[in-house]
């Protein structure tokens, strides 16, 4: 388990508990101490996790042990059938597409995957899609539209990949087309921001009727690092930038950009992935239930009126 800087005090207590457990045997006094320490650990976790600043939230959203799309695919869905390729250039493993079942609902799934092991991260390009990834998403979203299946997307990306090949193959055009396709379809779209919502690379698959986010997820127009280097020419001021950008799930809920926040177990989804999955599934089912026997025109219009409202202007 990886510990973030502000999680260190928890690590210390946990080490102590483990050490005591090793030597405790049937010494009741030691077990009493263990219980006491365990209570302290819970209190400490509450104290830390209920008072996170925005940059700490960013770190949790990017936590290396945080459950990713592939983890949730196996814990939330059944009968997942993956669909590969954009039928034009290739298959981008940063975006995973397929058919999936959650309880009684059959859906078309699109999700960004960062990868777990070093090798897997490289394979997934750290969750930074290329244009062919978005074009694969466009293809399966159109498939969903044709066959009347709801679309569920999981957002978790630092952003669309900034590279030579990505530009050569039209990263901007692919994102624009993906947004357009998500506006055109006449089936419900449920978007879940499970970790990091990195700018246009996230938005490309986030035009939903319902947009929900996990408790420690973030969603921003620019990374705090990028913002700091533009604003102060100093990428080490990301903490200040995160505060300025107001990018947490709680901020987004307050702005009315997201509809709901999915609670996470104390200490974040990575502390108890099974609990996180259960919550995610519960919210997903609840939102899919809203669109049983949906009217095609109505779901499309609903999506349009939702995005028509986003923005703050002085008239």
């Amino acid at each position: 388990m990886f510990y973030l800087e502000f999680e260190r005090p928890i690590l210390e207590i946990e080490k102590e508990i483990a050490e005591l457990k090793r030597i405790a045997k049937d010494n009741l006094e030691v077990w009493g101490e263990i219980r006491e320490l365990e209570e302290r650990a819970v209190k400490l976790r509450e104290k830390i996790y209920l008072n996170l600043n925005r940059y700490q939230k960013v770190q949790i959203a990017r936590h290396p042990d945080r459950p990713h799309t592939m983890d949730y695919i196996s814990s939330v869905f059944s009968d997942f059938v993956e669909i590969h390729g954009d039928r034009s250039f290739g298959d981008d493993p940063s975006i995973v597409c397929g058919f999936a079942t959650v309880e009684s609902y059959k859906i078309v799934f699109v999700g960004e995957e960062k990868g777990r092991s070093t090798q897997d991260k490289i394979f997934r390009n750290f969750g930074m899609p290329h244009p062919e990834g978005y074009r694969k998403a466009i293809r399966v979203i159109k498939l969903a539209d044709k066959f009347g299946l709801p679309v569920v997307t999981f957002v978790d990306t630092p952003g669309a990949y900034p590279g030579i090949g990505a530009e050569e193959r039209g990263q901007a055009q692919a994102i624009a087309e993906s947004i357009k396709t998500m506006l055109q379809i006449a089936v419900p779209v449920i978007v879940v921001i499970i970790g990091e919502g990195g700018s246009g690379g996230a938005l490309a698959i986030a035009v939903g009727n319902r947009i929900i986010a996990m408790e420690h997820a973030i969603y921003s127009v620019i990374s705090p690092e990028g913002c700091a280097s533009i604003l102060w020419r100093d990428s080490t001021r990301s903490k200040d930038a995160a505060e300025a950008l107001k990018l947490t799930a709680q901020d987004l809920f307050e702005f009315g950009i997201i509809d709901e926040i999915i609670p996470e177990p104390l200490g974040g989804a990575h502390r108890a992935p099974d609990v996180a999955s259960r919550y995610l599934k519960e919210y997903l089912v609840k939102n899919l239930r809203l669109y049983e026997n949906f009217d095609r025109k109505k779901v499309k219009d609903e999506r349009h009126s939702k995005f028509r409202k986003f923005g703050v202007v002085i008239e």
Partner: protein
């Protein structure tokens, strides 16, 4: 201070400096400013295109040099995030440009054809897209729909989505795309003219979605900024990367048209797309 910060690499200045004479950024020729301005900021010697503002494009494209009416020109930006220095930066941009925002739109005629024209100005916070920009574009599309007119956008938006309005700016990518969809549903033409520089969230939304996408020569166009790409891949980018000619070669632009020929080209294209005189 002991260590001086390394100066950031700045792209060559495309804006016109003060003074009677201007040295061409590309060929070094000393140009009489009045001559350059009469030539719509294109170097008469080497054809280098200086960055132009909304006034230049109005004079270049519109028959009367201006709009017959403006669209949503009363809108002003708010500061929904209470973002550091944003209010001051807005004021400063307003004072230096005389504009209320980075985008303006209106109705006017091009070669006698009535159109809705949407323009952005790089001088105003890099021509970046915030809530007002997105809203003006959307209302321009609604006007085009209501009057049965084509829409032409001319963008110079190096900043892409405006950071200072956070998530609200990002959402304008969807709103502007919805605007394009309004025109598509009605079969109305949308021509996107992309100028130096059009990047990020602007290029990744409406600016890439024209029935026709046209660029001025040598414009920087793309999704990620060259500096970000260089930092990511730890390599120097080849010359001409992300320039108009490169993009056309890769298949993402219909044509590269010199500024002086832009108006005639647009008139010809609008005619092919079925736009008739006195349509509204």
């Amino acid at each position: 201070m002991l260590f001086k910060k390394k100066k950031e690499l700045e792209p060559p200045k495309r804006e016109i400096p003060e003074g009677l004479f201007v040295k061409c950024t590309n060929c070094g020729e000393m140009l009489y400013k009045a001559v350059l301005e009469k030539n719509f900021l294109v170097c008469p010697k080497c054809n280098y295109h200086f960055r132009a503002n909304v006034e230049v494009y109005k004079a270049l494209l519109l028959d009367d040099g201006g709009f017959s009416e403006t669209i949503a020109s009363q809108l002003e930006s708010d500061d929904p995030l209470d973002f550091p220095e944003y209010k001051a930066k807005l004021k400063q941009a307003q004072a230096s440009t005389g504009l209320r925002e980075a985008a303006i739109a209106g109705v006017g005629t091009i070669g006698g054809l009535e159109v809705v024209l949407f323009l952005t100005d790089f001088r105003f916070l890099g021509g970046s897209m915030g809530s007002v920009y997105g809203e003006i574009f959307f209302r321009a599309c609604e006007t085009a729909r209501d009057r049965n007119l084509p829409l032409i956008s001319v963008t110079s938006s190096g900043g892409g989505a405006r950071m200072h309005e956070g998530i609200f700016s990002l959402m304008q990518m969807v709103k502007t795309t919805m605007g394009v969809e309004i025109l598509n549903e009605r079969g109305l033409p949308f021509i996107s003219v992309v100028c130096d520089p059009t990047m990020g969230g602007v290029m990744a939304s409406f600016a890439s979605l024209g029935d026709l996408n046209i660029a001025e020569p040598g414009a920087l166009l793309g999704f990620a900024g060259p500096r970000v790409i260089e930092q990511t891949i730890k390599q120097t980018l080849p010359p001409g990367f992300q320039r108009s000619e490169f993009l056309m070669q890769k298949g993402f632009l219909d044509m590269v048209v010199p500024r002086r020929e832009m108006k005639d080209t647009l008139i010809k294209l609008l005619d092919y797309l079925g736009v008739k005189h006195g349509r509204s």
